[in-house]
């Protein structure tokens, strides 16, 4: 059975191109993609994940506000009963060119399982997701 995953661009961010490409790539890789699109709130992600019994939430942020937008998402997932759901984040997560290691740490501390630097290929995320969901 195909695994459901929720895909979307968080916050006031309207970058749609990568979203459409991720949708295409994860669908091709055998996932059932619930794509809530751009300009999505934390609640939009959580509601979609509950409704579809999703295994993972893939959060994109391209406009640099990711740090503000993603804060508290893990806690809200817990509150909503999404206990072990995988949280991935990627894109241009912070404003400006920053050293990557501390950015990754900040997002991991926020409860994200995987955090991706700018320019990461969708194939990397697909590989990780298959590992994390133990799909061979």
């Amino acid at each position: 059975m195909k695994k459901n995953i929720v895909l979307g661009v968080i916050g006031a961010d309207c970058h749609a191109v990568g979203n459409k490409v991720l949708d295409y790539a994860f669908t091709e890789a055998g996932f059932e993609v619930i794509n809530i699109g751009v300009l999505s709130s934390q609640e939009d992600f959580i509601n979609a994940a509950i409704e579809t019994n999703a295994s993972a939430i893939l959060v994109s942020s391209l406009y640099g506000h990711g740090e503000i937008d993603c804060r508290g998402l893990r806690e809200k997932c817990e509150e909503a009963g999404l206990k072990d759901i995988l949280l991935y984040a990627g894109g241009n997560l912070v404003v400006g060119k920053q050293e990557w290691a501390p950015v990754q740490k900040r997002f991991e501390d926020m409860g994200f399982n995987r955090v991706y630097a700018p320019g990461t290929s969708p194939q990397v995320g697909i590989k990780h997701l298959k590992e994390d969901l133990q799909i061979i």
């Binding site: 006031a12 309207c14 790539a25 300009l39 406009y63 506000h65 503000i68 060119k97 320019g119």
Partner: protein, 484 residues
């Protein structure tokens, strides 16, 4: 209010205005007559419309960066650096994404966090929160004209504040700041809201203050066929003209094939001018060329290559200004220094190419004819759908997929068309969706893409589109298969 392409009456305008100015406390500081008095004292070298006119007369291309941070003093420091060190000809005020969604409370959080963290936590200047006085403070701290660049579907309060604040240009439009920037705002709403913005501009013009208006040309910035972006630009130009806008800059985002890019800018001028003439508008028309808006290489040297080639194309096309990228483009928002570097590389190329144009060839002529024919197919149908009313026709055209922007987030966009590059890197229609092109045009587009597919030993497919999206970031224009 019923949408139609007709100048707003004073009554309609003032009724909206009364409400708009209450959307955030800074609205109360806007006083139109006081603003006109202030703007009349702004020296000519800081007027956007005047500087563009001068550049157009001299046949030169001006360079303008993108830039904006959360706090006023930091923003001033940034703009002064781009002016003094970068040598920018025109200055921007890039507005943050919360403001673009009218979420001024979140801007306030961003401003406070920026103070606390001592770095900008917003991706632009939250101009509504900062208000008229701070706009003027910025203007008075620099020696160049200022423009707001944003992506705001409802920019009415923003427009009131920036112009009262002495900024003499505003980017945007009912289509170009909706379809690529919003998910669920109706086109009726954004066209109406931008009629308000354009009417305000018209009123300033009538009161003797020149204000430049610039529809956002590149749309989603990703493989948008020139005829589609030109159609949007011409429509937004006509809608603005109806509201009394006089000084217009129409835009186009670099696709990467020189002949196509030059053809796009030239046809935009020629075709828009014809439409303005036909509909009786007297417009001072200039153009803006956007350096490559898609994915950039992470390597800074390679990014300089992309930037410089964009600058060269802008010059060879004869664009009035070029919007500049930075060597940090792949990494997100650039440092002040990287931003200045992008301007310097750009200006060096513009200066080397001063006066040089791509000379007319049969290939350029053919490409111009193609873009004009495609654009006309779209516009004819838009007018037909609106029974002569362009605003109504535009809404119906998007509803029916007659107009359709690739990769746009809006649910009011059909999303049926797909673009891809031909063997020379020119952007063609792979799927036409419901765009009403003639059979000849459809066949020609298809034929070019089939030729590419044959070269690559694969079928014409969505994978080709995906490959093209990432190609420039990986160093090439056309996304060839890896094993090729």
């Amino acid at each position: 209010m019923t949408l139609q392409n007709k100048r707003l009456t004073e009554e309609e305008f003032l009724k909206q205005r009364q409400e708009i100015l209450t959307h955030w406390p800074t609205g109360k500081d806007v006083d139109l007559q006081e603003a006109v008095d202030y703007l009349k004292k702004v020296p000519e070298h800081k007027n956007f419309a005047a500087k563009l006119r001068k550049a157009s007369e001299e046949g030169i291309t001006l360079a303008q960066p993108r830039a904006g941070v959360a706090l006023v003093d930091e923003h001033i420091k940034l703009l002064q650096y781009l002016q003094n060190e970068g040598g920018a000809d025109l200055l921007p005020n890039t507005i943050d994404s919360y403001t673009r969604q009218n979420r001024y409370n979140e801007c306030q959080v961003g401003i406070e966090e920026s103070i606390k963290e001592n770095r900008s936590m917003l991706n632009g200047f939250p101009v509504v929160n900062h208000g008229v006085k701070n706009c003027r403070k910025v203007l008075e701290a620099v020696e160049l004209p200022l423009q707001a660049r944003h992506g705001t579907p409802d920019a009415r309060l923003l427009t009131e504040i920036i112009h009262a604040g002495g900024w003499t240009s505003n980017e945007g439009g009912g289509i170009s700041y909706n379809i690529p920037y919003a998910k669920s705002v109706s086109l009726e709403k954004t066209i109406l809201d931008w009629q308000y913005c354009d009417r305000l501009t018209g009123m300033y013009e009538e009161m003797g203050v020149e204000i430049n208006r610039e529809p956002f040309g590149p749309l989603t910035g990703t493989l948008v066929p020139p005829s589609m972006s030109n159609a949007v630009a011409i429509i937004e130009g006509l809608l603005a003209a109806e509201q009394g806008v006089k000084n217009l800059t129409l835009g186009y985002g670099q696709c990467g094939n020189l002949v196509q890019d030059v053809a796009a800018i030239r046809t935009l001028v020629e075709q828009a001018s014809e439409y303005f003439k036909t509909y009786g508008y007297d417009i001072e028309l200039t153009t803006v060329f956007h350096q490559w808006m898609g994915g950039f290489p992470a390597d800074e040297s390679k990014a300089f290559g992309v930037i410089s080639w964009g600058a060269a194309t802008a010059a060879l096309a004869g664009a009035t200004k070029v919007i500049v990228k930075t060597p940090h483009e792949a990494m997100g928002i650039p440092t002040m220094e990287a931003n200045a570097q992008g301007i310097k590389a750009t200006k060096q190329v513009l200066n080397l190419l001063k006066g040089q144009r791509l000379t007319m060839s049969k290939e350029l002529q053919a490409e111009m004819q193609l873009i004009k024919a495609e654009t006309k197919c779209i516009l004819d149908k838009v007018f037909e759908l609106g029974k002569g009313d362009l605003a109504v026709g535009t809404v119906k055209a998007f509803e029916t997929g007659v107009m359709d922007i690739p990769f746009a987030p809006s649910k009011y966009n059909a999303g049926k068309i797909l673009p891809a590059r031909d063997n020379n890197g020119a952007v063609r229609y792979l799927e036409f969706g419901n765009i009403p092109m003639s059979k000849d045009i459809k066949d020609f587009n298809r034929q070019l893409l089939e030729a590419r597919a044959k070269t690559e030993g694969r079928d014409v497919s969505f994978q080709m589109v995906v490959d093209d999206i990432y190609a420039v970031g990986k160093g090439t224009l056309v996304g060839r298969p890896e094993n090729k």
